[in-house]
Point group: none
Chain length 126, copies 4
DNA sequence: GTGGTCTAGACCACT
DNA sequence: GTGGTCTAGACCACG
């Protein structure tokens, strides 16, 4: 369910955070679902427990999960809402990226059709 | 002409590379133009010369500039072309970004109108 | 009567202790009143009996309750008095909190009016 | 300048965060000042570098500091402003604390005179 | 030299 | 069993 690219330049804990966000958005993890325990993920991915813990702590601080001592880590009911708001704040970044591509000679139509394609893929997979 | 954000998490040499690419794309630096010397940039930005050199070396290796011993660093005639190809290779990354926003509940129409807006801004500034 | 926030970072047994102290102070539990049994609270709150027991043991050790073998747990006659003394010992902590707020730019008058407001609320609810 | 209580129940990294916030508020560390390096603090306090790093990372994420790779960690210009806003958000917590003391039989006048005393101490030490 | 990431293995409190 | 904290020591990129 969760995979990690050890050779990537992106820190492992960062990859984990992104993966889990993605799983929450795609409803694989729903509100109040139990996340895999730190130790089990650590074994499964052959990654140090501390690294997993770092990712879990981040998710907890971001309000996406809540942890109960002795029980585990759970998806917060507001998780999807928070992710939605985060996405809105990323729009300027997205705009800067798009602008760079346009400046580099990529056609606006090409970008728009790419978005349409992604959107239809998305809808069909629901 | 060139500014650096010391508080950014992005490495200074990385910021420099991006800035110069941008200046090439916007024709501030044209083919065979002379880039500012390492020393002058170093003074102007209060940045270690080694850092400037690192950025220049990267640009040279990427084929965007060529250096002439004892003279300095010049914009390569193929620079814009290369940047265009680079941009094409970034399309998948752009797609992943867009996909994440769509998954987070951002509307496809919103993204497309943003692109249209950026494109018209761009055209009007030429 | 008693509620628990499972999403809180505060340990459940700690929340329980605070809740019961509060109920004693507000005279919902008076001297020699019978506290809910471990089993019933356990069911009612869907919490492990061990956790309830831990809280009860703490209250007992603090002299706020006394337990009668085979009968249950009862509010000690000195409970309110003890809580009053505990509160006095918390004054330095309160002072440190207040000091931090003052250092952060909160006005002393604002804090005092807040206290006045809370005090009048309290009196009117008696 | 910075001291840590190893026997406290409060995590070391938490104590560090509070200490540094305090030093920023009292202008011992001003905007753009250089914080002690992770390694030097680690030696000085006989605490593992990772623990220091955890505190520094937190401060950085909170916007109170910014770090420049290879140079060090610096106090953000907005630090005091942010701390002021944080304090405002802590007022409800402060109110709950005060309310508990009032419920426990502490006199409102006593709390207010404590605040006055702290405030005058504060003013005289400026 | 700096901060940032990671591993390995330990201890604690909570359930 | 769980999450959270800490130590010890390593490696990397940056300046």
């Amino acid at each position: 369910m969760i995979t990690i690219d050890l050779m990537s330049r992106k820190p492992i804990y960062d990859q984990l955070i992104e993966k889990i966000k993605q799983l929450i958005l795609s409803d694989v993890f729903s509100a109040n679902d139990h996340l895999p325990s730190v130790r089990s993920l650590s074994c499964q991915l052959s990654v140090n427990p501390n690294t997993i813990q770092k990712a879990y702590t981040h998710l907890c601080n971001a309000g996406l999960t809540y942890s109960v001592a002795g029980k585990g880590c759970f998806v917060s009911p507001q998780a999807k809402e928070i992710l939605g708001q985060d996405a809105k704040q990323e729009l300027p970044q997205f705009g800067a990226f798009a602008r760079r591509l346009l400046d580099s000679g990529i056609d606006a139509e090409q970008l728009k059709s790419l978005i349409d394609q992604l959107d239809s893929e998305r809808r069909s997979s629901l």
